[in-house]
């Protein structure tokens, strides 16, 4: 496939330098483009043949090949720490790495104490754990916002009014999306205000 790819496409550079435009399928013999196009055709068939070998190999391995282990190349990086096939919601498992080569040097640690929808936020420079943030809760609003954006763009093809109307539409979907879901840690406003005013009297 590598040889086929380069044999198919590199001669096109030479042809371009000799004045052949893109995206034509026929030309006169006097142009002198025949030789390199012939080489290119050989390359294209080689590439196709390579793809067939690849597909055959994939199909055969799927049927009767040996099962690969979770880390067949003995790589050092974190994506190879998961079992194969990876478990569902693999992102819920947060590993702790103590070096750049965590799978080569020592054992991989594990983060515990995160509730559902919680994510660990680390410091920017040294990646030490800093605080726990909340992942957004599932909502239908992203596809609806995408739909409103599509309406904005398509409407702009027909009328300039598509822009202001579309912007208002998209903004409305965003505002609905960002409204609090009351699933995050919260406080009662009235109590908070009164406790703060009490605190103020105590302070000098």
């Amino acid at each position: 496939m590598f040889v086929g790819f380069n044999l198919a496409f590199f001669p096109q550079h030479l042809l371009g330098l000799r004045g052949m435009p893109r995206r034509i399928y026929t030309y006169l013999p006097e142009t002198g483009w025949g030789f390199w196009n012939f080489v290119s055709t050989i390359g294209a068939f080689t590439l196709g043949l390579g793809a067939l070998v690849f597909l055959f190999n994939a199909a055969r391995t799927l049927r009767s090949g040996a099962r690969a282990s979770a880390n067949p190349f003995r790589a050092y990086s974190l994506e190879w720490a998961l079992s194969s096939p990876p478990p569902r919601s693999a992102d819920r498992i947060v590993p702790v790495a103590a070096s750049r080569y965590p799978l080569w040097l020592g054992e991989l640690g594990r983060v515990e104490g995160l509730a559902r929808d919680e994510v660990l936020v680390t410091r920017v420079v040294d990646a030490e754990p800093d605080h726990v943030g909340h992942a957004p809760t599932p909502t239908i609003m992203p596809p609806i916002t995408a739909l409103a954006t599509a309406v904005l763009i398509v409407a702009c093809l027909f009328t300039p009014w598509g822009l202001p109307v579309g912007v208002v539409l998209v903004s409305l979907t965003l505002l609905v999306w960002f409204w609090p879901t009351d699933r995050e840690p919260a406080f009662q406003t009235r109590e908070r205000v009164s406790s703060e005013s009490v605190g103020k009297e105590v302070l000098p």
């Binding site: 515990e112 936020v121 605080h131 609090p180 009351d182 840690p185 703060e196």
Partner: protein, 204 residues
Amino acid sequence: MSEQERAPSGVLDVSALPRHATGLRTPLWWGTVLLIAIESTCFAVLFNAYLYVRNNFREWPPDERLHLLPGTVAAAALLITLPPTFLYRRAACAERFAAMRRWLVIATALSLLALAARVWEIWAVPFSWTGSAYASTVWTSLGMHTLEIVTGAVESLYMCAILFRSRVELKTFEDVEASALFWFFSVLVWLPFAGLFYLEAAAR
């Protein structure tokens, strides 16, 4: 958390970590800063467009002069919003809810006044955007920045609405702080434009 505090089994328990943070510890802060970087680029391109088309004119500005009074009032109205913005941001970082809400309401009211001044400024522009390349760049910059402060004002109104609910999420402190950051940028980015447009109009 230092190396020594890690449990020897490689398990990192994060259940004791704080559930929210402010300032440059939060991903939202970094997101806002990067958004500001993108918008700054956009405004820098507009600023350069103005300087670039100036080379094509013997007389500059080629159209009628911008009126100094509405432009100055609009810029001043924007600047007046900054002190309460500074105060509600400081209260948000210190998690003083009552002070944050009070100053946010004042800043929002002032930003609506600034929007009204901006409407006057736009109304007073004495040329159409089809007049010349000069007119076109002035209108584009003015329109782009108006979109910017409309976005900021809508965001402030939205935050106010959230803060007057009976239950407020802890992460709202982060959100309000990010709002303040964005508003600081929205106001300050206009100053070079106002200076350039109105001083050049007044100089002749």
